[in-house]
């Protein structure tokens, strides 16, 4: 599975402007977007998911072109088949664990099909959530919430899993465990993962292509574009971005 991303986007609010200019190519199972906060990592992920639209460029996952400004291609979010794990998981607070997991299978104003219910039961079993199927997200621990969010994002067989700082909401003792779980999930579903992290522990755990963002140059030592920290798969990712203030 190859991922090719080459996008530009300018965001402005008031007198502040932010330029994102990133391009990378990855063939491994894991791609890690790393760099200081505010450098545009989340924005990149949101562009891949289709939540934000780049000003120009091209996004290609596997054989599918999701965005191409030259050919006026912009696949809507709902058709991109992308699993997205939000930083705080964004579990639907009004729905039970089972309804959260089955959300992507249910159609508006129609009950979940028998096949769908089986699929949900299978995912709950895999993620060890069977006992809390009827609980609301607010009653779950951090680790359980992450499992629900993962199960929910995998229900429609996405072609790639995007994780926005997946472990930042967890306490340290839990992170190691959830890293191992994520690896197991990746292997089981055989799905490429793009994740954001600035933790060396994550970079060690998920051997893969590193896309290094520069940004607030003074804060970050490796601020030159195209810096390669680790690249287990041996491909050379490049990324550059800059923050401009007027």
């Amino acid at each position: 599975m190859t991922t090719r991303v080459s996008i530009k986007k300018t965001m402005s609010s008031g007198s502040r402007r932010f330029n994102l200019d990133v391009s990378f190519y990855s063939r491994g199972y894991y791609t890690i977007l790393s760099g200081p906060s505010g450098a545009g990592k989340s924005l990149t992920l949101r562009c891949i998911a289709g939540i934000e639209t780049p000003d120009s460029g091209r996004i290609e996952i596997g054989e599918r072109v999701l965005f191409d400004s030259e050919n006026r291609i912009n696949v809507p979010v709902r058709e991109r088949k992308i699993g997205y794990l939000f930083q705080d998981y964004a579990l639907f607070p009004h729905l039970s664990v089972a309804d959260n997991v089955g959300f992507g299978l249910k159609k508006l104003f129609r009950p979940l099909s028998g096949e769908g219910r089986e699929k949900v039961a299978e995912l709950l079993e895999i993620f060890g959530l069977r006992e809390m199927a009827e609980s609301l997200p607010r009653d779950l621990s951090g680790g359980q919430r992450q499992r629900v969010a993962l199960a929910r994002s995998l229900v429609n067989h996405p072609s790639v899993l995007l994780l926005d700082e997946p472990f930042s909401a967890l306490d340290h003792s839990l992170r190691e465990k959830m890293r191992a779980e994520l690896k197991a999930v990746q292997a089981r579903f055989n799905i490429p993962v793009i994740l954001i992290s600035h933790e060396p522990a994550d970079i060690r755990a998920f051997e893969g292509d590193i896309v290094e963002y520069s940004g607030k140059g003074a804060v970050h030592k490796n601020s030159s574009s195209g810096t390669k920290l680790f690249s287990a798969a041996g491909y050379s990712p490049e990324a550059s971005c800059q923050k401009v203030r007027f």
């Binding site: 979010v77 997205y84 249910k106 609301l136 429609n156």
Partner: protein, 222 residues
Amino acid sequence: MFNAVELSPLLLTLKVAGLATCTALVAGTALAYALSSYAFPGRDWLDAFLTLPIVLPPTVLGYYIIVVVGRNGFIGKWLDHYLGISLMFTWQGAVIAASIVSLPMVIKSARAAFEGVSPDFENAARTLGQSEASVFFRVTLPLAWRGILAGAMLAFARAMGEFGATLMVAGDLPGRTQTLSLAIYDAVQAGHDTLSMQLVIFTSVICMVMLVSSGKLLRAEY
């Protein structure tokens, strides 16, 4: 407590305020969703226009309503000519007046409720393959309905108390268009002290219940 003659303004008020609240609820929710979701040109002006009934004197609203649906109004003339209907001096006219004054109550509450729903929830639903209609009915509305309903309660209380515009549009015909607030005015004028006190207390109690329920609904659930 009330005899048949005294009961009629009460039932009429419940009917008028109930229908006005339903109208304001549907129109207000749709308008609030548009105002909170889309940045279209003139949004601030539309918002101000829809808020006008809160600040304008009821007589001004009554005047505008007459201009629109009165016998010579541009909708009123059409209704009269093609359907033979006139809304002036009817309880339906009172519903129109009450709907207009209670609309901003729903819009204000519903807009705050919609803006309180984190876009992450809606985006999560989109990444799960859901259409915009599905996102609205399965995520946005269920997360905002308490705020919207709280607004509907305020709208009902406001519609019940409507006086000025109703008087100008529907008049004060006992048994036909005389609502509670008009009946209270008449009772006080005629020196019916017991009746006016009963109606005043009844109105106050209902409005109090509405405000308390509205406040309870607004307390965070999740």
